[in-house]
Point group: C2
Chain length 248, copies 2
């Protein structure tokens, strides 16, 4: 059976990869990925063959992975974060269609909601929404609607892709929508370059987030109504009924 | 410095732990956790001291971990899935308050949205909400509101804790709310016992999900408007503008 593993490598450092992802990269013949992600793993798996394509060339990259697997090589296609959440697994399924080969194995990885949340403290202890601010593949009106609904539902909110060269104002526009529902002093956090050089957590209010310095390696966390700063960390308590719980 | 690591061990099997979580468990003196989770790691880290408390005794368990760390031992407190998302990290911060010690290190792990999604295919390629159906610590009305908002916003939805002994009807009640907004034939999936004995993925419509056989080790995935079954997997395509992308 021809085999293609789509591997979530987590935020980028070896430590935050799973045992299973590491094994898949050690056991494959070819590693396929976006140039920047391949550079993150190249040194450790130096005996592999590498195939890369630049950013935005996702279809081409997936076709390359499928073709290489059909040719008989064991392929690992890497994604940053999780392989499913905003990752390449879906596109591989779409492009393979109803064909039986190659077999696709989806190997999960730490998405930024997990790794960035840990960097900031515990902002996502309760229900939350993950929303990408990239309007490259999604109409902005749809993103606006999701932000409004998430705020109205008192969900914690994680924003992926808060900024890119072509979209310098998306975070400000998103904050303006959220500020219709949420107070200016709502605790927020930004996780910068998780697991890479320059990793840093930063805390601020929703009012200040509007003008925060974020880039394409930032992940933004907006607290729910219970979120507060405790001991220097962003913390969302677990429940709304602490006092009723026997041991709480 | 006294040190307490709160460690997300992922769904339960060694393979799905991160390198960093494995290292923290190897390097600590004492492993603290809910009995069922401690049983998952006991064999591999057999030289450690183990401290357990039964289910629901979260405050007691966290106090035990903090106290042991204050006593000078290096403690790893384990959580299934992620240490932050519905995990114990927040409660540790709350109980420690503004004290400087012990230092709390939050080590993230694969949450069921990642690991269960991978088991089913690629259901979460686009924006989504994670909602727990446990009303032990949250009023049911709040859960209802979140379900309604998530459906209205066309978010993918992941349901944690879809059922427990005390709450046999929560999934049915949740489906009834979702069915006010979403069609009966909306593709859904259930990930059973991820990474443990009995692991299995199951696919069905939202109409059928209402009467599905789920337990406390199940995680439920409800697709967005674009989700479909492709090649036997539940797949949510990445974007809403595929045709406009040059290489798509």
């Amino acid at each position: 059976m021809r085999k293609l593993a789509v591997v979530g490598i987590g935020p980028g450092n070896y430590e935050n990869m799973t045992i299973r992802a590491d094994r898949a990269l050690r056991e494959c013949d070819v590693i396929v990925g976006y140039t920047v992600y391949v550079d993150l793993v190249k040194e450790r798996y130096a005996d592999k063959e590498f195939l890369t394509t630049p950013m935005l060339r996702e279809v081409e990259r997936c076709e390359m992975a499928l073709e290489t697997a059909r040719g008989g090589k064991t392929v690992a296609m890497i994604c940053s974060g999780d392989s499913g959440i905003y990752g390449m697994a879906a596109l591989l399924y779409e492009l393979r269609g109803e064909a039986a080969e190659p077999e696709i194995e989806v190997i999960p990885g730490l998405t930024a909601a997990c790794s960035g949340g840990a960097l900031l403290g515990a902002p996502l202890t309760h229900d939350f929404a993950v929303i990408s601010l990239s309007n490259r593949l999604t109409p902005w009106e749809k993103i606006e609607k999701r932000l409004a609904c998430a705020a109205e539902a008192d969900l914690g909110i994680v924003l992926y892709n808060p900024r890119s060269k072509g979209r310098p104002d998306n975070l400000r526009m998103a904050c303006d929508i959220l500020l219709r529902y949420l107070p200016e002093d709502r605790p927020c956090g930004v996780a910068h370059s998780i697991g890479r050089e320059g990793e840093a957590g930063e805390y601020m209010t929703l009012g200040a987030l509007r003008d925060a310095d974020v880039d394409m390696f930032s992940t933004v966390f907006i607290g729910n109504a219970m979120t507060k700063m405790i001991g220097g960390a962003m913390v969302t308590p677990r429940g709304y009924r602490r006092k009723e719980v026997p041991d709480a």
